[in-house]
Symmetry: C2
Subunit: 430 residues, 2 copies
């Protein structure tokens, strides 16, 4: 029998709306799962069972507020919450309690969501990991920086989570943990109340166990009415996109993409191939320049007041950021704009692009969160991307396949992802 903490957000919302299920029962089931698994998974930076249950009971006593009424959501700990600490993975913020909710949290609460707690993030959503382990193998990284969000959803502790992506911080952990990760187009989800890492890259994303659940959350975030995903009239038209990173993809990551393509071709989807020109590789360097330059400024106060409480890895990023000239930064921004325009042209005529989500399975060890190459180029290009848990790697760990949409065509990308998953068997180990 399916346990309550295993049901989808979409189903839970429907059952709560119809009176078949109480938010309290659902939250209690999630809390039981957390109690059982948290000692191994370590997904949470903060949760308080009593407060979560009180919020659930308040939902049960109130008139339905919106499409997420009574549904628990986990929130990455770089996103402000007025009733919980926001520690950002940094000892500098050990005692930090924001005065307000971030806009995305306020919007989800207005849609009825129960904020279940705060999930572990790498320090300032960067590269110095927290304690979270991969639910499929505690000796492996869950990815990062939205480590706790991906692990909590993958491990059935919460049906939904918010993450943020500046490099690959939504797509990579979702891939490594075998769940759906959706990073919308840059700029579409308000970042008010979210700690900036690199202002022209940071994007709030959604982690869920199905495309329908990710879409439900996305639509609540941007204020689109909740509805069933429209069916595509025809099978989608894709382009497999091969960048300078493609040779770095492991054999199983390549196989994940090729097998997914073969299955979709059998269902009528059409595939072309786009090979990025060699100069496309300058985009990776431009992203590093933009990231480091902006991060140095974003952490100006922390570096000035609490330098000893910043990790060595982040200190290197900050120091590099201050060493980048203003002119080099402008040039990196121009490079990014050049390739955004290139992609606008080359993505014309396709419903989505397809590529590897990650270079391979979650690597063993908890000291790094993995390679960002396959995610970060799409972040800097500001386009929406989604990873789908379509495969398993050589060690049996989950492997995502990434679909990339055109900027502002987020709804179309979700419709394509929904089509892709419609006939897929559950590929993850869960």
């Amino acid at each position: 029998m399916t346990k309550l903490h295993q049901i989808s957000a979409t189903r839970a919302a429907r059952m709560i709306a119809s009176g078949e299920l109480s938010s309290e029962a659902l939250v209690r089931s999630c809390l039981e799962r957390i109690a059982a698994r948290e000692p191994v998974v370590k997904a949470w930076a903060h949760f308080d069972a009593d407060s979560a249950l009180a919020a659930a009971r308040a939902c049960d006593a109130a008139k339905p507020k919106g499409p997420l009424h009574g549904v628990p959501v986990a929130v990455k700990d770089v996103i402000d919450t007025c009733d919980m600490p926001t520690r950002m993975g940094s000892p500098i913020y050990e005692d930090h309690r924001p005065a307000t909710d971030a806009a995305c949290v306020a919007i989800l609460r207005a849609a009825g969501a129960v904020i279940l707690g705060k999930t572990v993030t790498a320090e300032f959503a960067g590269i110095a990991p927290g304690a979270t382990t991969n639910p499929h193998d505690p000796a492996r990284t869950p990815g990062g920086s939205s480590s706790g969000s991906a692990a909590a959803v993958a491990d059935f502790m919460a049906p939904l989570a918010l993450g943020t992506q500046t490099g690959g911080s939504v797509i990579r952990p979702a891939s490594f943990c075998g769940v759906v990760g959706f990073k919308p187009s840059f700029g579409l989800v308000s970042r008010v109340g979210v700690k900036f890492c690199a202002e022209s890259l940071d994007t709030i994303g959604v982690i869920a166990r199905s495309v329908a659940d990710a879409r439900l959350t996305w639509r609540a975030l941007v204020g689109l009415p909740h509805s069933l995903a429209p069916d595509l009239r025809d099978p989608p038209r894709f382009a497999l996109v091969k960048t300078h990173h493609w040779p770095k993809a492991s054999a199983d990551s390549v196989a994940a993409v090729e097998n997914a393509i073969a299955r979709m071709q059998a269902r009528g989807a059409v595939f072309d191939e786009i090979v990025a020109p060699p100069e496309f590789s300058e985009l990776s360097r431009a992203r590093t320049v933009i990231n480091d330059y902006e991060r140095a400024r974003a952490l100006a106060w922390e570096k000035s007041e609490h330098p000893a409480k910043i990790s060595a890895a982040m200190t290197r990023v900050i120091d590099n950021g201050w060493s980048i000239s203003f002119e080099a930064y402008l040039q990196a921004q121009r490079t990014a704009e050049h390739w955004r325009a290139w992609l606008d042209i080359h993505a014309q005529g396709y419903d989505a692009l397809i590529g590897a989500a990650v270079n391979g399975e979650a690597p063993p060890g908890l000291t790094t969160t993995g390679d960002t190459s396959f995610q970060e180029i799409w972040t800097v290009l500001h386009v929406p991307t989604i990873t789908l848990p379509l495969s398993l790697g050589a060690s049996g760990m989950p492997l995502g396949v990434q679909l990339i949409g055109k900027r502002f065509h987020d709804e179309r990308l979700l419709a394509v992802a929904s089509w892709v998953m419609r006939d897929e068997p559950a590929a993850s180990r869960q």
Copy 2:
């Protein structure tokens, strides 16, 4: 004899660096000016004379930290300060004390600046004014939303101030108060720790009494080395730009632009004219859509938790924002991008565009902060603009003339502005 509070930031910095002047003496002079004039001007949301003097003495006791060592700066009260309240012109934040400095404040402190206090802002940098009056006529608005920053600098209470612009909130108050207002290209000054109004428009700007002082502050903010502004090799090439708003400019505002042009032509500058096509006017509507849509989300928590503490004017903006469809918002963003590309093409070959900064003198009364038309189009186009106090209106109030640069060509715009002001008599009443 020039009083200390009247000297420029550039001169003060040089005198402090050479030991001719102490920061304490300079700050004390500013505090005396504030004590004398604040009852009428009402520029300050917060200042604490003892803390300001302590910071100045600390500078005097320390080794020089940077180009602003010992120079007092006023900070608009939507920008976080770890040692002063940040009230945002809203009773919701009456008791709010941020945990950290905004990045721009931390960067200025690292450059040696003394944060003198927080200046009055319209509610959430919007349209509901604070109590500040125009230093040239207390019965008139100083403009907004950076009301206190412009008034404090114009009234010699501080040599420099930070403001923010989402519509016209730096350029308009600077024009109305007869000082220099500089709004950089979108995205170049880190907004970490600044309350967002409309995320894709908000830009931190500088208010000063000279181009050299604005440039000194700008360079400190972006980390460019302090140096003298380069002389232009040749007189600049301008285009007078006439948009759909041009017919709304008052006779004295038109005369301000035309007289400035005549004087510059006499000095060898070359002028063309660009007349924006009729469809350019859709940019104004697009800006309103973007502004209201994003503001509604930026204030999601405040509207949910403290609706009665939000002004009627802001409540209308928020309600309008929630009534705008996601598709209409995307369309407005596409419109903005279309005209950015248009401007890129049409501004080619010019060192700067020139136009009115405001539709006329600061209007009588303190219930509005004036018309945003002449500023907001450049904000949504993401280009740098500067207003120069080149004229007086029919009532003897200051009138600015606006120079508009190409995006990312902020340094070039400042060099042109410096050329323009080189041979200008002091046009403001001060």
